[in-house]
């Protein structure tokens, strides 16, 4: 089960509609697909979608760094996933997006060799049905309310709403959505670091009775020392996203009492191996987690769903 070949492919797919967050607008997905082949014929697939403003990686850097990662992993036993991460982290700091593609491909091969679906290989027992939300991009209150109504009509049980503009406009956005769809369908809001701490506290209190499950990353990621103050003043649970990439971040946020929940994305954690450590830390701390991601195809999302 020694890996004899890695192939990295750039993959571009246009989006049906622009995806708008407080971090910017995307109209096309630019991902990297990885195929790993072993000496015994087993083939594993991986994928990553580098998000420039969160990962600090692009499709081009993933291909360039991926070539170096491939060289350091060639000849390795695909089942030695911990060893693969040690080699990758020794070679180059960060670059969690492209490292996640390698992590997924190695897990694919190792689970195939074990004869198990990936979720069982990861310790899961039952194949339960999962349920996803659907996201409303940032826009005018009227546009966001119309988009939310379409999502309800399409049967989604939860709606995620991108926020993170001026506080007053964000409050109007949620008001408009609630006036259009009523109060039954729960919302999740995501400020993508768009507020300062005082604005976050003001907006979250104004939205207290709007049936909101949680708020992702209310303030800039580098202000993580302020997160506990926001959490303690907020009637809505705080979920760390950009401030929680790998297990070291999770450990720090737990020690700080910074949030109630984590949003795990394989492209932030460097793949399944470290994501599982985040989940274990959350279990110990009695915290809940969300499994999310970037704009990957169903390939990387299949890995995320196995982890869920």
């Amino acid at each position: 089960m020694r890996i004899t070949r890695f192939e990295l492919f750039p993959l571009g797919i246009p989006l049906k509609a622009p995806f708008v967050t407080s971090l910017g607008t995307l109209s096309e997905v630019q991902s990297v697909v990885l195929r790993a082949t072993c000496d015994d014929g087993l083939v594993g697939w991986g994928e990553c979608n580098p998000f420039w403003s969160i990962n600090g990686e692009t499709q081009e850097t993933c291909l360039a760094v991926g070539k170096h990662l491939a060289k350091t992993l060639i000849g390795l036993d695909a089942a030695d996933i911990e060893g693969a991460h040690a080699r990758m982290d020794r070679l180059i700091f960060g670059n969690s997006s492209i490292k996640s593609a390698f992590d997924i491909a190695l897990h694919d091969i190792a689970a195939q060799a074990a004869g198990l679906p990936l979720f069982r290989f990861l310790g899961g027992t039952d194949n339960r049905q999962l349920t996803t939300d659907y996201t409303v991009s940032l826009g005018s209150p009227e546009k966001m309310a119309a988009d939310a109504q379409n999502i309800v009509r399409n049967g989604f049980p939860v709606i995620k709403v991108k926020l993170g503009g001026t506080g007053d406009l964000d409050i109007r956005r949620i008001q408009a959505i609630r006036e259009r769809i009523g109060s039954i369908t729960p919302l999740r809001i995501d400020a993508n670091q768009g507020w300062d701490p005082d604005t976050a506290i003001r907006v979250l209190n104004a939205l207290a009775d709007r049936n909101i499950q949680h708020c992702e990353e209310p303030i800039p990621r580098w202000q993580f020392m302020e997160m506990r103050r926001v959490k303690e003043a907020s009637p809505i649970p705080i979920m760390a996203d950009e401030s929680c990439c790998d297990h070291h971040d999770a450990e720090r946020l737990i020690a700080l009492g910074a949030c109630q929940r984590f949003n795990i994305k394989l492209g932030k954690s460097g793949g399944l191996f470290k994501a599982r450590t985040i989940i274990a830390l959350a279990e110990q701390a009695g915290m809940e987690v969300q499994i999310g991601g970037f704009l990957e195809s169903r390939l990387a999302w299949t890995a995320a769903a196995h982890l869920a």
Binding site: T4, R5, F6, E7, L8, F9, P10, L11, I13, P14, L15, K16, V33, R35, G44, W45, K67, I74, H107, D108, A111, Q112, G115, L118, F119, L122, G124, N127, R128, L130, T131, T132, D133, Y134, G155, P157, Q213, R261, R276, I279, A282, M287, E288, V289, Q290, I291, G292, G293, F294, E296, S297, R298, L299, W301, T302, A304, A305, H306, L307, A308
Partner: protein, 68 residues
């Protein structure tokens, strides 16, 4: 109850799934893999491994980076 409906596959700590972006793409180059059903439901494949692969016709072999 919540966005996952039930606790997740590998841990009861997993309570929420935010997995909608493949539904936003104009094409789907993946063979196998998770299946999206009505009301936001997702089914995870039960074959060995990931259970998903890429349709190689969608991949540009001319820009491929190969290490062996």
């Amino acid at each position: 109850m919540d966005g996952c409906g039930t606790p997740g596959l590998t841990s009861d700590a997993v309570r929420y799934c935010d997995m909608d972006t493949p539904l936003m793409l104009t094409s789907d180059p993946v063979r196998g893999g998770i299946l999206y059903g009505p009301e936001g439901s997702i089914r995870v494949p039960e074959g060995p491994g990931l259970g998903a692969s890429m349709d190689v016709d969608h991949l540009d072999r001319t820009t491929r980076v190969e290490v062996h």
